[in-house]
Subunit: 303 residues, 2 copies
């Protein structure tokens, strides 16, 4: 490839419904129900230092999400794995954010305008690594608020099926901005902690790690933290987490593919510990990246 | 224009962020938060027989929705009006479905990835008229079900701000399909009727027209029906509508820009009246289109 061509692909590579292209050209029709009805599911897998993290877990969850929404693209899981690899390979990126979407599409001409009559399709892209919380904010610890906007109820939209219904999370981000904070966590209608925009939340309470049992995605980084806690013999519980208990926690941290373990230093203006990442959060964060560097759950890419 | 060029534009004309194009080329970046976070609002105005219906009401509601989500595109209301007209004019369509979207966009490079740091933009398209319920189904009356999936709560997503958070409505459409029905209506968590996918609902109960006071868009066709009822001295009430009362109504009809007044002949398998549109529904439907033909709330387009 020419240098100019390399530069275009290095911004990201995409695949939409059978065709590869630079990410700058990757677009979906404005009339597509994947956009107009947010009728789509997705997953995001990270590439760090030239290797996917927990690729098979992401493929498995993506297929489960598609089944949950009755989405059935032409590609098999083996096909999707190859597309993910090929997008990263074409981009040449060694640290990448790799998204896979399945969209409902549009009703076939002549058929009733109903989701059963749409041709579903796959869209994938690899772009340079994205930090949900920037590294400088991670270093001082994120400032979090508990938003007043409640999370969309699980009975209406299943949070275990990764989806783009983010209006409540966006409202929460505006609340955080208005209150001078970095980010937010949302409660369910009963006042229990659920999740934030793109991450799971954890509290450290009397030496125990606690993460919500409801209203949240079953995150793959969350799963990794459960494994880390087991390795380090740190007690960890998945249970209902009332807002008051969360706001009074000893430590708080967040977890996501696009960021790993991300410490919090303030909640609703209250300073946690010494206004810096708590010791257990910092230890889990350090351990997470040390294990990643050592090839934990890694699938190296042949560029 | 050449005949080929005419044919391309006749499928629809679009405008995205300052540029006009045939609708087939109108697409949004796969990385745009308007899609990836369903962070957008929209409105739809109809063109029938070469004239917009209630254009100013739609422009007013669209601006109000944008304000509600803190979206601020470069275009003024006067600009948007001109873009709507120009899209219809370029398409040459005399019966058109005209959508206006405002999307969040993407964070500007170098700034924190937060919705406050995005450049919002406008997207408009005019395509051939769309029937939410096809004319043959309208003639026999639509078969409706009350879905088990509850409508997303207003506290999480305000239904008065037109949005693409349709996952609950899509679930309802699958329920309808599985039960052999055409369409669905959703209840809120307290068991009150809200709305269906893209339409308001009305019940006729002992000679009174009733429409829900909660959980629904304040539809502009709904407003037109309130006006029609006043004209015809038909009592009409906006109030809580429990599911049981709705299921037991004498008549049911639906209202939307993309269809006007649409009668229902079955609810949850129960046959209403003689399995055909009810007399009051049919009268309102007839009156609605008669007044439309006579130029009611019309803004003619200069093609």
């Amino acid at each position: 490839m020419s240098e100019m061509s390399n530069a275009v692909w290095a911004k990201g590579a995409a695949y939409i419904d059978g065709r590869y292209m630079p990410v700058e050209q990757a677009a979906i029709p404005i009339t597509d129900w994947g956009y107009r009805r947010s009728d789509a599911t997705y997953d995001v897998v990270g590439v760090w230092d030239g290797a996917f993290f927990r690729l098979e877990d992401h493929l498995r969850r993506f297929r489960s999400s598609m089944r949950g929404l009755r989405l059935d693209p032409p590609e098999s899981d083996d096909d999707i794995r190859q597309v993910l690899i090929e997008c990263v390979r074409r981009s040449g990126l060694r640290h990448a954010y790799v998204a896979m979407d399945c969209l409902r599409g549009m009703p076939k001409p002549g058929l009733v305008r109903h989701p059963v009559n749409c041709r579903n399709y796959l869209a994938v892209f690899a772009i340079p690594w994205v930090w949900v919380v920037s590294p400088d904010v991670q270093d001082r610890g994120a400032h979090l608020i508990i938003a007043r906007t409640p999370r969309i109820a699980a009975a209406s939209i299943d949070p275990r099926i990764k989806n783009f219904h983010w209006g409540d999370l966006t409202s929460g981000l505006f609340e955080a901005h208005d209150r001078g904070a970095d980010n937010c966590v949302l409660l369910d209608a009963d006042g229990f902690v659920t999740e934030g925009p793109g991450f799971n939340v954890f509290a450290v309470i009397e030496g125990q790690v606690v993460t919500p049992d409801r209203g949240a995605l079953e995150g793959i980084t969350r799963l990794s933290i459960l494994e880390l806690c087991a390795d380090l013999a740190i007690p960890c519980t998945i249970r209902p987490l009332p807002a008051a208990e969360f706001a009074d926690a000893d430590e708080i941290f967040l977890a996501t593919t696009a960021g790993g373990v991300m410490p919090v230093s303030r909640i609703d203006g209250r300073i946690l510990g010494n206004d810096r990442p708590g010791p257990l959060s910092a230890r889990l964060q350090q351990q997470f990246w040390a294990k990643r560097a050592a090839g934990w759950h890694a699938t190296p890419i042949n560029y």
